[in-house]
């Protein structure tokens, strides 16, 4: 009973219900949407989004933001694909992509924690820089003709046509979830985002935690890049463009508050699935997928506005209850006299 109660109080549950409602509504209009095969395809579409949303969750939990992961993903993907094309061993290509992500994340973290530049402006700047570097690195050309074996990784399915990358994502998410919720070290991220001064006073290294968040975010976008390369099969200079906004939207839809400290990676994962499913939903509703962005925008604004109003209401309610309790207390005291 307690567990169920706790579950319903969790912020992710509203995003999960939102996902469920979306699927059911579309299922009502077009029942073939609810076939397991199709739902698995929705999941397959979200493998990159989930990873970058989980990475982004670290940064947002600490109260910062990273607007550069789209370019980080693109740069890591370009490096990974170029090495694959030149017949480097897969491991080398993947490690180099990760290295790119780590370096990009470190630069962001350095700007935010050491130079004290506001994260949104720092990462807007680095987004432009990294994106420009992709053009420099690829000379604006497409990176294609990748080894078929590597592309085949994303086509390898388990359980019908569910890609094994999705299961890997879920495992990674679960590990991160446990790390953030159950370990002392992992709890630091939310603590810093919730109350920076307080975290500092109880001895949490605030700057180092934020730095780590940016580095982890970079690593996750690099990992996302590897999956992107395998799934899409080619990389262009605009690969990953706008993914930063999708990742932020996924986190917000998943119930992570941009003011920091609130939310879980499970929510981010659900948000990622929602973001990836919207265009597919539209296809089944026989609406042009051009409306993808419109729906995303409406969903995003609606969710945050409702959330904010609900929060304000609960704060008001708590205050009224406190007040009422105080009033009855004094009344009780008067009776005794």
């Amino acid at each position: 009973m307690n567990v169920v109660k706790k579950l319903f109080k969790a912020r992710e549950i509203s995003s999960f219900l939102c996902l469920l409602a979306m699927f059911l509504l579309v299922g009502l209009v077009n029942p073939s949407f609810l076939k397991p095969q199709n739902i698995m395809l929705c999941f397959n579409g979200s493998i990159v989004y989930i990873l970058i949303a989980v990475g982004m969750a670290f940064v947002i939990l600490t109260g910062e933001i990273d607007c550069s992961i789209g370019a980080q993903l693109g740069l890591a993907a370009a490096v990974c694909a170029t090495f694959l094309k030149n017949e480097a061993p897969w491991g080398v290509a993947i490690l180099l992509a990760l290295l790119v992500g780590l370096v990009c994340g470190t630069i962001n973290g350095f700007g935010v924690t050491v130079l004290h530049i506001p994260s949104i402006i720092m990462t807007l700047g680095t987004n432009g820089i990294y994106r420009g570097l992709i053009y420099v690195y690829t000379q604006g050309k497409w990176v294609e003709n990748l080894p078929a074996g590597f592309k085949g990784l994303a086509q390898t399915n388990i359980f019908g046509n569910l890609c094994w990358f999705f299961v890997m994502d879920l495992v990674i998410m679960l590990l991160v979830f446990l790390y953030l919720r159950k370990t002392r070290h992992g709890k630091r991220f939310a603590a810093v985002g919730d109350n920076e001064m307080g975290a500092d006073l109880i001895g949490i290294p605030v700057a180092r935690t934020k730095m780590l968040a940016f580095i982890i975010c970079g690593a996750f976008s690099a990992l996302g890049a590897v999956l992107y390369v395998s799934r899409v099969g080619f990389v262009t200079a605009i690969s990953g463009n706008g993914y930063e906004m999708k990742a932020i939207a996924a986190c917000v839809i998943g119930g992570i508050s941009l003011s920091g400290g609130v939310g879980t990676v499970a929510g981010a994962t659900i948000g990622g699935i929602i973001m990836a499913s919207i265009s597919r939903l539209l296809v089944f509703l026989k609406i042009s997928s051009d409306y993808d962005n419109t729906i995303t925008g409406i969903l995003l604004i609606a969710i945050v506005v409702i959330d904010s109003l609900a929060q304000r209401r609960s704060v008001e309610k708590a205050r009224r209850e406190r007040l009422a309790a105080r009033v009855t207390e004094t009344e009780g005291g008067a009776d005794h006299e």
Binding site: G111, H116, L124, I301
Partner: protein
Amino acid sequence: MNNFGKTMKSKLLSWEMLLVVVLVLEIIIFGQINPRFLRINVLMGSINDFISICVISLFVTFVMITGGIDIQAGSIIGLTSITVGMLWQDKGLNIWVAAIFAIVVGLLCGLLSGFFVAYTGVQPMVVTLGGSFLYSGLALAVVNMSSSEAYEGIGGFPESFMKLSSGNVAGIPNQLIIFIALIIISYILLHKTKYGRYVFLCGVNPSASEYSGIRVKPIIMSTYGLSGMSASIAGLILTSYLGSAKSDLGATYTLPIITAVVLGGTSNTGGKGGVIGTAIAAVVIGILKFGLNMSGMPSQYLDIPVGILLIVVLTFRMTSSNPAVVAKFKKLTGKK
């Protein structure tokens, strides 16, 4: 107080003077690299490349002074452009009527986001992120409603509309005149009226302003409306310059706009700033991109220097306002 005001003014003036010096240096250096750059018609023509950034950043300054941020302006450009094209081609409206409609659309888009920022307390970043999705999606929806293909755009506008970007008055290009007019309007609005004072006060301390009887919420909302409207004006100029209405114009403008505002001396935490600085900074960035391009740098690379510029400026400002660093610096110079 008076003294304080004076020092503030001199400080700001010096920052703006610095920007002017940077601008002159830029022109001299690029002139050395490529003498063609110094021709007056080339310089005047270059404004076509960055006029949108100049116009929008003027009014995004208002938003950032209230402590907000606006990352949706780019998508309003596209929405305006395709709206004006659609109204003119499919609905047969007069082009200027269509233009006024488009400006109203931009204003409404801005006000909608502003409403959510001001009245629900959601962070401006999230709201304008949602707005950028929404308005770019709406632009595509408008394309679907119209009879033309999305990738082609709508072209063949009347001569009078094309004059908006190609004509000139006494040798000064029309869009430069529009820019100067908007600088004057925004300067008066921000620095010479009660409304402008309120905008600053909302940025310094919203609750204190609320208690002193300023209606903070409508003022915050209005700044987003202004920035949406300026994005529409930029969209019109851009449509006229390119000769075709497209839904994806301006998608990459967020970085240069924010850079211009921050480089112009507006504080990202609100309460400080000015439009003159923004105007000069926008031109500095525009000339930098244009000059680098003329010196042979491919245009796709141009976000690298802009991004570096943004970070360097902020590093400089953050460290110079950090008391520990200032003390160290004084010690160092003192020892010398």
